[in-house]
């Protein structure tokens, strides 16, 4: 615990101008609106790695969150009594503000990426569980009746009919989850020194609101969220040509 507090204390604002890094241009010294030279100098050492960390943190959270939600949704699809408790728990987790969630985990798991991932995964559960389940139950009664009537076993019907038909709804949920998580990773940067949030915090806010770092961190964050969203939307069109056929009608 002492370590945790010490680590938090270490994040207290530092004295402006105590930049430990080398080259300092006039723009950086005067905190101009935007200093390209800072971005150039710090890309490979600070900004680039932060971007990669950001993506890693988000991908790990969504992959784990999806795996858990998918299994829960498959179980709940067969055993409907599971739906209310799972929804209730995930709603509860979802309502907890992320900063509060991060800090409440700190005494248990410490200040590290593990803590961040636990909180992030807990945020994906509601969205991904609800959407996967809605997708599975979304196939029309006629389609399900036909699948059964043509001689599919429940398992065959699930994998050949319900699940493929659920893809658009599942991907819609993934898109929301991914964008949400990319946002929350930024917030996590206020606590752990990883991701674009850390660039904003450590290089911007703590350095007397250094404009360039704030803008670079913010813009990259938005670009990343938009790109991830577009990527998933494109992926969905690729794997569900039938949905596109329906759209174009």
């Amino acid at each position: 615990m002492i370590v945790a507090v010490a680590a938090l204390a270490a994040k207290a604002p530092v004295i402006p101008g105590s930049d430990a890094y080398g080259k300092t241009s006039k723009c950086v010294k005067d905190n101009g609106t935007f200093c390209w030279d800072w971005v150039r100098d710090r890309w490979s050492g600070t900004v680039g790695p932060a971007l990669v960390q950001h993506i890693q943190l988000a991908v790990v959270a969504v992959v784990i969150g999806f795996a858990i939600s998918f299994v829960l949704a498959l179980l709940a699809y067969r055993a409907r009594w599971l739906v209310p408790p799972v929804t209730f728990l995930s709603s509860l987790l979802y309502t907890v503000p992320s900063l509060a969630a991060f800090y409440i985990l700190v005494p248990i798991t410490g200040i590290n990426d593990f803590t961040v991932e636990i909180a992030l995964v807990s945020y994906t559960l509601l969205i991904l569980f609800t959407n996967t389940l809605a997708g599975l139950t979304g196939a029309s009664g006629d389609v399900r009746d036909a699948a059964r009537g043509l001689g599919m076993t429940p398992t065959q019907s699930l994998w050949r009919v319900e699940l493929p038909l659920a893809v658009p709804t599942i991907v819609a949920g993934l898109r929301v989850a991914v964008v949400t998580i990319i946002s929350l990773v930024t917030v996590a940067g206020l606590i752990v020194p990883d991701g674009l949030g850390a660039v904003i915090y450590t290089e911007g806010l703590k350095k007397n609101n250094f404009n360039t770092a704030l803008i670079v961190g913010g813009v990259l964050c938005i670009v990343l969220a938009l790109a991830a969203d577009a990527l998933l939307a494109g992926l969905q069109r690729l794997i569900t040509p039938w949905a596109a056929a329906r759209r174009s009608r």
Binding site: A146, G149, P241
Partner: protein, 387 residues
């Protein structure tokens, strides 16, 4: 052939079948027994809540019966795994239930794929079936959302036929289609059925559709009780009770007329003359009109009995032909035309437009009075239900 009957059609027998849903006292199906001979269309018809769909769904074990036995080709379905059983029974439902994520060819190939056919065989079977139901081969690549209602229904029938099942179940298959297209699909299915000769259980709430589609009709009453099981003609001629009479409607006489077409009737002979032939007062036989025909016996005019001496026929002395009707038309259509043409004999033409005979109100009267020749359908099937 994937089906273990090895036949294109198999007889179906309901033997004292009962279905009672849990928590209810009244039976949904009560002691239902009937036989559908192989290759015939049996229509289950009745008001809503009569259990006709339930009865149909018992056959492929979508619903399990409480008591009794159902036999397909003499073998009980009770011991069968439901999934295996269903793969051997074609299944078509009102809203078709095509799989939206599969294209038409893959929809049709569903059951063959479950049965483990190889890709090539599935593809050629899909193409064959598309042709059979009258859809162009390119349609195989379309998705269900790109088809019209009628096209979807055809694909649904093709999908049901994919593994060449000896038995088909059809639950109000044309119920969601507009009247004009429904009529067309019904005719197409009748044509198809003449070709494939499957045993079909066809559920509908529309007695007219039942009369049109069925070789036999089973009329059910609420509570799943079989009231009458016979050919359409016999049911219309002799309704078993008040319920059936009301269900088939007060116009059952007319409906019966619709079942018979002019080919099945003894038409009156037509006196035909060629242009230039000599006619005498004795030329007129049964009625007052002679028909002037060309070299192929196609009518070009008619003349009334107004010749008092022998004379040569000239077109100038003839007038255009009055009402005529094709020989494929029903007696009901003939009667209707007589009404609009103020009751006089109609000239009946064969498929090539040649003179076939006269039809008058007398033939229609005779047809109505005729006792149906296929009454007692269950006896006709030659199966003893009491054993």
């Amino acid at each position: 052939m994937p089906v273990d009957t090895g036949k294109t059609a198999a007889p179906l027998e309901f033997r004292n079948v009962t279905k009672r849903y849990e928590g209810t006292d009244a039976a949904a199906i009560k002691d239902l027994s009937f036989v559908v001979p192989a290759g015939e269309v049996c229509v289950l018809v009745g008001p809503s809540g009569c259990g006709k769909t339930t009865a149909m769904r018992l056959v492929n074990r979508m619903i399990d019966m409480t008591g009794g036995e159902i036999l397909i080709d003499g073998k009980s379905i009770s011991g069968r795994s439901p999934a295996d059983l269903r793969r051997e029974i074609g299944y078509v439902i009102q809203h078709v239930g095509l799989f939206p994520h599969l294209n038409v060819a893959n929809n049709i190939g569903t059951v063959p794929r479950l049965l483990g056919w190889d890709r090539k065989r599935i593809a050629s079977r899909s193409a064959e079936l598309l042709e059979l139901v009258g859809l162009p081969a390119e349609m195989g690549k379309r998705y269900p959302s790109q088809l019209s209602g009628g096209q979807r229904q055809r694909v649904g029938v093709a999908r049901a036929l994919a593994a060449d099942p000896p038995l088909m179940l059809m639950d109000e298959p044309f119920g969601a289609i507009d009247p004009i297209n429904r009529d067309r699909l019904q005719n197409e299915f009748l044509r198809l059925q003449r070709e494939i000769k499957k045993t079909v259980v066809f559920v509908t709430h529309d007695i007219d559709e039942g009369i049109k589609m069925g070789d036999r009709i089973a009329i059910l009453r609420e509570g799943g009780e079989l009231v009458q099981y016979d050919t359409p003609d016999a049911i219309l001629a002799n309704p078993a009770d008040e319920f059936v009479a009301r269900f088939v409607g007060a116009d059952r006489g007319l409906k019966r007329l619709a079942l018979t077409n002019l080919e099945q009737v003894d038409l009156d002979e037509v006196t035909c003359v060629r242009e230039g032939e000599t006619i005498s007062p004795g030329t007129w036989v049964d009625n007052d009109i002679v028909v002037v025909v060309d070299g192929e016996r196609k009518p070009i005019g008619e003349m009334t009995r107004d010749v008092s001496s022998d004379s040569a026929v000239t077109l100038g002395s003839a007038r255009p032909v009055g009402a005529s009707i094709p020989i494929t038309a029903s007696l009901r259509d003939a009667l209707s035309l007589m009404m609009t043409e103020s009751i006089r004999p109609l000239l009946v033409l064969d498929g090539e437009g040649r003179v076939a005979g006269w039809v008058s109100i007398d033939q229609i009267n005779k047809a109505v009075r005729q006792v149906p020749n296929e009454s007692a359908a269950i006896d006709a099937a030659g199966i003893d239900l009491d054993k």
